[in-house]
Amino acid sequence: MNLDACIARACEPVPGLVRGALALLPEGLLIGSVGEGNVFESEPLARSAARCLAQAPPLDQARAQPFVEHVFVSPYELVVILRGQRYPQLALALTCNNGPNLTFVLSLSRMALHSIEATADLALWEL
């Protein structure tokens, strides 16, 4: 299964999913996408993931605890940005309709990234 298909399958349960991007940190290199639009429309998601996860210094520098998850909540959409647990160089960014419950979207987005980390062949990207 190619990477886009793997991302699509993992993200299928995420309610209200519009578009998603899988990116490599710290550069924000887009390596896979899912949902509406072409690959160029997923680029801002990959760049934002890099900006929020890789360019921001840790919140608590002494204990080195950077943010690993961001949710942007607007009246019409949610943008979820997650850092990989197994592969911290991996980031998943998803845009969803703001109809479903925030906690529900967040939980299923986490599960989607977990599934990608477990099933995708990321050797090509040296992960």
Binding site: A56, L59, F67, F72, V73, S74, T95
Partner: protein, 264 residues
Amino acid sequence: MIGVDWGSLLAALERVEALTSSDSGLLLFGDAPVGGIFVERGRVCWVAARGLQRRLRDLLQAHAQLDSHELERVSERCRAEGLLLGQTLVAEGLLEPTELQSALRRHSAESLLDLCRSPHTTTWASHAGRGYAPRFTFCAADLLLDSVALAYPALHGPAQRQLAPFSGPGRRCVAFVLDASTEAPLPVAESGGNGVDAMLALGRSLAPMPRASHELGTTPSFALSTTSSGHTVLSWWRDALLFAVSCADRASLAAATAQHLVLS
């Protein structure tokens, strides 16, 4: 807005905050010192800058509502007897202690901004001499907030007003000024007793959020950011202000988020 090298200012205050309660002395600015931050037992007494000595007298006069002759008389006596003018005015009932603190803090912020108009290195010089009464000292975070408020007077009031409803037990709230000329967001108001280091770390961590939302073409009502240990910060931004609310527990975070939605 006055020109300030915020990198120098923030570095100096981080250095002062890192001092311990056994440290007293002067943090000097410049190779040929043009002023410095006086520290007594780890706390700031005041900030002196060359050419601004007269300004402290003006501030004391304004707060004490003394006429210039009376102030001159007390000032002459302080010089002759080696007394501190502000504390003498308080001791003689001519100035309220809170007014002295306000004048010292205002003068210190003005002096610090003046010292940081251009990049300066700082040097720490310890001393073991006579100090100030601890009641007239303040912390590095107070000095930072005063300085930013002075540099951005139009943003200070709105920042305080918008942040006020969120203060409460176990919550740490900070409002930052977003200025394109500085890399780090500048804390302008806070509640919950945040230190300089904590506020700057929070600001730097959240700085990419407004830029990312712009990149995404979205205008979020708010954002939630979570660390690997599960600590979540609520943030939102409007124009040149970024707000962050950090809560001790999930219930408080949910309440703060609901509060933000009601108020916005």
